[in-house]
């Protein structure tokens, strides 16, 4: 897998910015629920989009440890390296 945490993080940010409600100045340190005002359902639905783009499934229990955009990127890269 050629994906790195930085490249996945950039892709997540780009996807987040497709949503007009998301603040324009987000970065990898942003907390998805607190800073972007996503509720748990919105997070799960957003992750589904990323899963499709990167052809990976993120089990819900893994999501429990994800707070920031970079956490999510790291979690996805770990899953890809495992698979």
């Amino acid at each position: 897998m050629s994906e790195t945490v930085d490249s996945v993080s950039a892709l997540i940010i780009q996807k987040l910015l497709d949503n007009p409600k998301v603040p324009r100045d987000i970065n990898g340190d942003c907390k998805i629920m607190e800073d972007l005002a996503f509720d748990s359902l919105a997070v799960m639905n957003f992750v589904m989009e990323i899963e499709d783009t990167l052809d990976v499934s993120v089990p819900l229990d893994k999501l429990a440890d994800v707070r920031t955009v970079d956490d999510l990127a790291k979690c996805i890269v770990d899953l890809q390296n495992k698979g």
Partner: protein, 399 residues
């Protein structure tokens, strides 16, 4: 000292807002008197009940009431124990045999609620190495079951067998069993699962399939067995879970299966082992309600006729009602304000429906969720439609 209630501050302000804008707590409605299956007294007014899930009206079955009275007189009012201790009486086994034979399955497990049936069966089946694949719009009991399990949990897009297929393909070669969970009729929207397509995916990928027929049992299928029967794929469904609290009008849950391992599940299932079993009067009423359901297939025809009448009527008025015809008919609104005002005005005009709010609803929009009964008269449905139309105009939902 930090307050243990601080986490509720968001809920507190949301609930405060709901009560302030509508004048009452939508989650605190009290039915003061039950007049019939379709009419109750709320706030001293006779109110048409369009939000009770009492699909066949059997909560008011006089035969079931009599059976409950007799059972209480004979056995007492409670079992004071769990199914694996002192809480199994001959009535529990009789009910299990009756349910299994009704579904033409090898065995049945009866739980104290439908919620616990899902919690129990999902958490018992899905172990650490296994994968649970859940429809994104699954009921809370399914999500909670997945949390009580130790399995890896993956969501797929609602009612989308291709998306499920894609996600199962990704897991190809990984160890562990795969259990797919779908509902027959979705409780919020009335959407019906394409089970034949899900069954095909299950066969191709060698996974297991559990269908929660909570809202479809007694409602669809030639014998009222639910969507699996209606789609002709019962043999592909490994486990059917359901509840007695909707079409049968009592309380309790069940899981039926042909797998011979059900007795092993009984001793590996916390929500079955560590809670008191159903009381005798509930079991007796449930068995009688099941007999009535079988003896009166015309109830299902009336139910579907009524569902068509309400569904068609709401569409004709111009409201954004459910796509598919089923006894769950939801009207989707764009804003919370509209939903709250309309729900309150409907109640004041004598029509009770459920107010369903995000995140319990799909795609973040509020719903006015109606459920139809076989026992509604055409005149009651027409009256509800009339009130819906006038209230929707008053609230500027319709012009």
């Amino acid at each position: 000292m930090s307050s243990i209630f601080a986490k509720f501050s968001g809920t507190a302000s949301a609930l405060g807002g709901l009560i302030e804008s509508g004048g009452r707590n939508p989650f605190g409605v009290v039915i003061e008197k039950v007049v019939s299956s379709t009419v109750g007294v709320i706030e001293n007014r006779e109110t048409l009940l369009f939000g009770t899930n009492n699909y066949l009206g059997l909560s008011q079955s006089q035969n079931a009431v009599k059976a409950a009275q007799d059972a209480a007189a004979k056995y007492g009012v409670g079992t004071t124990g769990s199914r694996i201790a002192n809480g199994t009486q001959s009535l529990h086994r009789q009910l299990e045999v009756q349910i299994a034979s009704h579904f033409n399955r090898r065995d049945a497990m009866v739980f104290s609620t439908g919620y616990q049936a899902n919690l129990g069966i999902i958490s018992a089946l899905a172990g650490k190495e296994d994968y649970l694949l859940l429809d994104a719009d699954s009921h809370a009991s399914i999500y909670d079951g997945s949390r009580l399990s130790t399995a890896q949990v993956i969501r797929f897009r609602h009612n989308d067998p291709d998306d499920l297929h894609k996600r199962l393909k990704r897991l190809e070669g990984t160890p562990g069993a795969k259990l797919v969970v779908v509902e027959g009729i979705y409780s919020m929207t009335g959407n019906i699962a394409p089970v034949a397509e899900f069954a095909a995916v299950k066969r191709e990928t060698d996974s297991y399939l559990l269908v929660d027929e909570a809202h479809s049992f007694g409602v669809i299928g030639e014998n009222g067995l639910g969507v699996a029967e209606a789609a002709g794929v019962e043999k592909d469904v490994d486990f059917i879970a359901g509840t007695f609290s909707k079409s049968l009008g009592t309380v309790g849950g069940y899981c039926v299966s042909d797998h011979p391992e059900m007795d092993l599940i009984r001793v590996n299932c916390r929500p079955y082992m560590f809670t008191a079993s159903l009381p005798p009067e509930v079991i007796a009423a449930t068995m009688t309600a099941l007999d009535e359901m079988k003896a009166h297939p015309e109830l299902r025809t009336q139910l579907m006729d009524n569902a068509k009448r309400l569904h068609g009527g709401l569409h004709r008025i111009g409201l954004n009602a459910s796509k598919q015809v089923s006894p769950v008919v939801a009207v989707t609104l764009e804003t919370l304000g509209q939903a709250i005002t309309m729900w309150n005005r409907l109640l004041e005009e004598g029509v009770y429906v459920n107010l369903s709010l995000p995140p319990a609803t799909p795609d973040n929009r509020p719903l006015l969720r109606c459920s139809v009964m076989a026992t509604h008269t055409p005149a009651q449905i027409d009256k509800a439609l009339e009130v819906f139309a006038s209230v929707a105009r008053e609230c500027s939902v319709l012009s």
